[in-house]
């Protein structure tokens, strides 16, 4: 593939990406939601397609990523911003509400550290061939970073295959 870093350059990029992911995770874990949100590109599309178990001849349509197909989530930065407004307004003062604040963010980050595990627990796991939800969220993150140096959480079957 043209333009894709190779060898040492690729390893260096990989380390950069890992550092970035951990830094991003820290922002969420420390509930620095404004800084975390600032990492997102304006044209963000944050989408995780549903995977179907279908016959081999149709395997190209395994991932439902058509414009009107239902996904696990499919959002842009504009949709995400209002969800974090309460933190900007300092409404998460008491303990109970702080919990809710984490909860809100947890719902939409699918974070690879604490967060993915909890979503996985909450959403349950498919053991009959479907992706476990938490795993898929992690893959989505990996795929997003693989496609671009900046945070662009769009992924599709092609980018997924290039990474795993």
């Amino acid at each position: 593939m043209d333009g894709v870093p190779k060898g040492f350059e690729a390893q260096a990029l990989r380390l950069d990406v890992e550092d970035f992911l951990h830094a991003e995770a820290d922002l969420v874990d420390d509930r620095k939601f404004d800084q975390w949100l600032a990492l997102f590109s304006e044209d963000l599309q944050y989408r995780m397609p549903i995977v179907r178990n279908i016959a081999a001849p149709s395997i190209a349509n395994e991932y439902l990523s058509g414009p009107l197909d239902v996904s696990w989530f499919d959002e842009g930065k504009k949709l995400r911003r209002p969800w974090h407004a309460p933190s900007e307004h300092g409404q998460f003062a008491d303990t109970a509400v702080t919990h809710y604040g984490r909860h809100v963010v947890r719902k939409h980050t699918g974070h690879r550290r604490k967060v993915a595990g909890r979503i996985s627990q909450s959403a349950g796991e498919r053991d009959d061939g479907g992706l476990a939800f938490g795993d898929a969220v992690e893959i989505a993150h990996d795929a997003a970073y693989g496609r671009s140096g900046s945070f662009l959480a769009w992924f599709n079957a092609a980018s997924l295959r290039s990474l795993i």
């Binding site: 549903i50 439902l64 414009p67 197909d69 499919d74 909450s122 939800f133």
Partner: protein, 462 residues
């Protein structure tokens, strides 16, 4: 759990309590498969999922896998998804198109094609039929197991394993008006909706009765969605997670049938207020306003019925925000497999469908804001109800009981004028006990008396 348990003891209608055993116990769960899921009408899918001949969609009826398929004459069938030979799960794909279902184990093959077989689902080919079976295998006898009753109701496909089950529309009673309000076109045409491509399927470690009794009209759990309300998911950009509703939105339950939900008081079409919605999205807002006008015109002089809720046992729907169907498939006493579908008008403009699609996904499903609150509650309640000590203490359903009266606008329904009441949950649980007692369909449909029947506690008028 003792052997002497009885459903009417587990559900104490008089004292308005329910034993925790029904939410965690394995024996109760096994009885449910027999008495409820092998008898009640269950939601299978939507006709738009199998538009062409030989299309199939694999669904569930309770724990069991079923195949919904359209034959070459256009007729729909529902079969148990298991090979008659060694029980192999015959079709292992979620959907597709095939003329013949061939078993991956020993290649017993079945078809619905009249050119290949005389009965839909009949055994069409068996390897070694001549040489090893000596043509002595009765192919008709060993065909796929069809459901004895199914119906296409305004595009939705329903089936029951009980050939003596009451007809679907009798089973629904006047609750059908609310199902219609979800399935009918926004402009008032009958049916006219489809489900978007893509069914969200996930498992949560909770008993299946939690979602069923939550969606039957539990308006008191709003506290669980506090975070969603705080972040204003409202599609008009104002407070809360939904648009403002017309007045007269209350809990209605059907004590003889087990259905219930939250909906609007009945009133002439002309008097039902059309409150602007989706104002952040003018193309959707305009579409809904124009559709509502057409609806009002088309149904002038008729009664407006609208609501959302649970159809006993495990199908719940919402008629507008978000317009959706969810099925709570039992998957063991402490696990549910949820299947969520999203409804849109079949001929709505693409950009309208797209905006609705975004709102639906943001609201519902395991990645949705609201659904995750519920899933955590149900899983945690299931977990905290399993202990030997915890099981000693029943759940309480006493809120608002004995304040309900019959509601004339919806035959068979009762209400107490409030949204917040546990009448519907108790109604659902009462129906659960009636099925679990193995009452026959004459008794279930109130055509034959039952000696130990406990009437639903209505308001005592002095």
């Amino acid at each position: 759990m003792s052997n002497a348990w009885s459903p009417t003891r587990l559900i104490d209608v008089k004292n308005r309590t329910a034993s925790r055993e029904i939410f965690v116990d394995r024996d109760v769960y096994r009885q449910e498969q027999e008495q409820i899921f092998a008898r009640a009408w269950l939601f299978v899918g939507h006709e738009c999922q199998v538009p062409n001949p030989d299309d199939f969609y694999v669904s569930r009826m309770g724990e069991e896998s079923v195949i919904l398929t359209r034959d070459r004459q256009g007729k729909l069938h529902v079969f148990l998804n298991t090979c008659r030979h060694r029980g192999m799960k015959l079709c292992r794909h979620d959907e597709g198109n095939t003329r013949v279902f061939s078993c991956p184990y020993h290649a017993w093959s079945y078809s619905t094609d009249g050119a290949l077989v005389s009965i839909p689902g009949e055994l069409f080919g068996v390897p070694g039929y001549k040489k090893y079976y000596h043509e002595e295998l009765d192919k008709q006898e060993w065909g796929l197991v069809p459901v004895p009753q199914m119906i296409n109701y305004r595009g939705t496909i329903w089936a029951t394993w009980d050939k003596s089950a009451a007809p679907f529309e009798d089973y629904l009673g006047s609750f059908k008006f609310w199902l219609d309000s979800a399935l009918d076109h926004r402009d008032g045409r009958e049916g006219g909706s489809v489900v978007l491509v893509g069914v969200q399927k996930w498992r949560t470690n909770c008993n299946w009765k939690f979602p069923a009794t939550n969606f039957v009209g539990d308006a008191a759990h709003v506290i669980a969605h506090r975070s969603v309300d705080m972040v204003n998911l409202n599609p008009s950009g104002t407070e809360g997670r939904r648009d403002e509703r017309a007045e007269g939105h209350a809990a209605f339950g059907w004590p003889d049938l087990g259905h219930g939900g939250l909906g609007f008081t009945s009133r002439p079409e002309e008097e039902f207020p059309r409150i602007p919605s989706f104002q952040k999205y003018p193309h959707v807002s305009e579409y809904l306003i124009q559709s509502a006008k057409a609806h009002q015109k088309r149904r002038a002089g008729k009664i407006h019925q609208q609501g959302k809720g649970t159809i006993f046992p495990n199908m719940s729907f919402h008629e507008d925000q978000p317009r959706t169907i969810i099925v709570h498939h039992p998957n063991g006493p402490t696990q549910t497999e949820f299947w969520r579908y999203y409804l849109v008008d079949a001929d709505a403009p693409t950009e309208v469908k797209d905006t609705l699609r975004h709102y639906y996904m943001t609201y519902s499903g395991p990645g949705g804001m609201t659904e995750q609150d519920d899933l955590e509650n149900w899983a945690s309640a299931t977990e905290a109800s399993q202990g030997a000590v915890a099981r000693r203490f029943p759940y309480n359903y006493q809120q608002g009981l004995r304040y309900s009266v019959p509601y004339e606008g919806l035959p068979g329904a009762v209400w107490c004028g409030e949204r917040v009441t546990e009448q519907n949950q108790l109604i659902w649980l009462k129906r659960w006990a009636e099925f679990m007692e193995a009452r026959d369909w004459d008794q279930l449909m109130r055509r034959a008396p039952v000696s130990n029947d406990v009437a639903f506690p209505l308001k005592i008028v002095r």
